[in-house]
């Protein structure tokens, strides 16, 4: 095992340059260190000007998503030992505007997420006295996988369609919409249909499948999208053949 490893980190300081550059740092190698540890070492000891996001350092907050050697990863889950012999290339996530160094702007995602109404929609709320909305374990199982999303945006960085078509709502948004569509307590599938089945929705997806590959929480957004394509197609036929019956 080497005693140090090189990290080649993307820098972008808009006040002094018009394009990103790379800077290489030599950090100590520890077999239990992840890329985030190395970045923090750089910031604490070598170069305090390096900017990046992180929080929980245990893979549940979704803050520390970056590209490590070209692949979108959570830097708190990317071990240095898996990326030897180095240099380890660290870059900001693709397809989002770079604000500074490794920090990207996620406003586009936030805006799109709101559009699919990721909350339980009821036609009529039950009065408190009637008790909770009960759910069997099987009903819970129908949407649990999609509820695991931590909004880390790795799937957006992996999706070439999102890169090519900036209006595409994207994998995580669709997976989260499905999380609510398939929740037995929810009655809002019709409200979400318009945006999901619209021009910027699921039909842009060509099932590259990279989103599911990079997802750190096994949400399988590609699966969510394909399922909704089938739902959307069935709904189209139903509304054509039985226009009075669609909800």
């Amino acid at each position: 095992m080497p005693s140090t490893v090189a990290l080649t980190v993307a820098r972008y300081r808009p006040e002094q340059e018009s394009e990103p550059t790379f800077q290489t740092y030599e950090v100590p190698f520890r077999k239990d260190w992840v890329v985030l540890d190395a970045l923090n070492h750089i910031k604490d000891n070598l170069d305090g000007s390096l900017s990046f996001r992180w929080s929980c350092r245990m893979g549940v907050c979704g803050s520390c998503g970056m590209k490590v050697n070209g692949t979108p990863k959570l830097t708190c889950a990317a071990f240095l030992s898996d990326h030897l012999p180095g240099p380890v290339r660290v870059e900001p996530l693709d397809y989002f505007p770079v604000v500074r160094d490794l920090v990207v702007d996620l406003t586009d995602f936030m805006r799109k997420l709101k559009k699919v109404k990721p909350w339980i929609i009821r036609k009529e709320e039950r009065p408190l006295g009637d008790g909770e909305y009960r759910q069997t374990p099987d009903q819970l199982d129908a949407y649990t996988q999609f509820s695991m999303c931590i909004n880390c945006m790795l799937c957006y960085s992996a999706c070439p369609i999102y890169g090519l078509e900036s209006s595409f709502v994207g994998p995580a948004v669709i997976a989260l919409a499905q999380r609510y569509n398939m929740d037995s307590r929810d009655q809002g599938a019709a409200e979400r249909l318009e945006i999901l089945s619209g021009h910027d929705g699921i039909w842009q997806c060509t099932f590259v499948g990279e989103c599911t590959k990079v997802c750190p929480k096994n949400v399988d957004p590609a699966g969510a999208i394909q399922q909704y394509k089938l739902t959307g197609a069935v709904h189209w036929f139903k509304s054509l053949l039985l226009p009075w019956g669609t909800r």
């Binding site: 070439p160 369609i161 090519l164 078509e165 089945s197 619209g198 021009h199 039909w203 060509t206 394509k229 959307g232 197609a233 709904h235 189209w236 036929f237 509304s239 054509l240």
Partner: protein
Amino acid sequence: MPRPVTPFLWFLFSAGGTVAALLFPIHLLLTGLAFPLGWLPAPSYEFLRALVQHPLTRLYLFVFISLPLFHWAHRFRYTLYDGLQLKHLTELIAVLCYGAALVGSAMAAYTLWNFA
């Protein structure tokens, strides 16, 4: 707002892809390789004519030819749009692709209908 037609096009793509996946390998193996190369005895002209006379065969053949053409049209359209980034030609590409599939399907329908 006019009803979007994309779900239907995806359905055609899906149906065509299934037909192509299930039936094209064997037909291509036989017609394109095994029969011309003599690995297997080819059916005779008279046998094939008699086979195609049957209305069920004609229906099968129409589905066999037209659905995979629509599968190609939809998939190829997106390949050009995303792969080669020909965004500015998007309408032209759509018309050419689905148009070609329609022409192929019409030709198949015509040939099969008039098969005597």
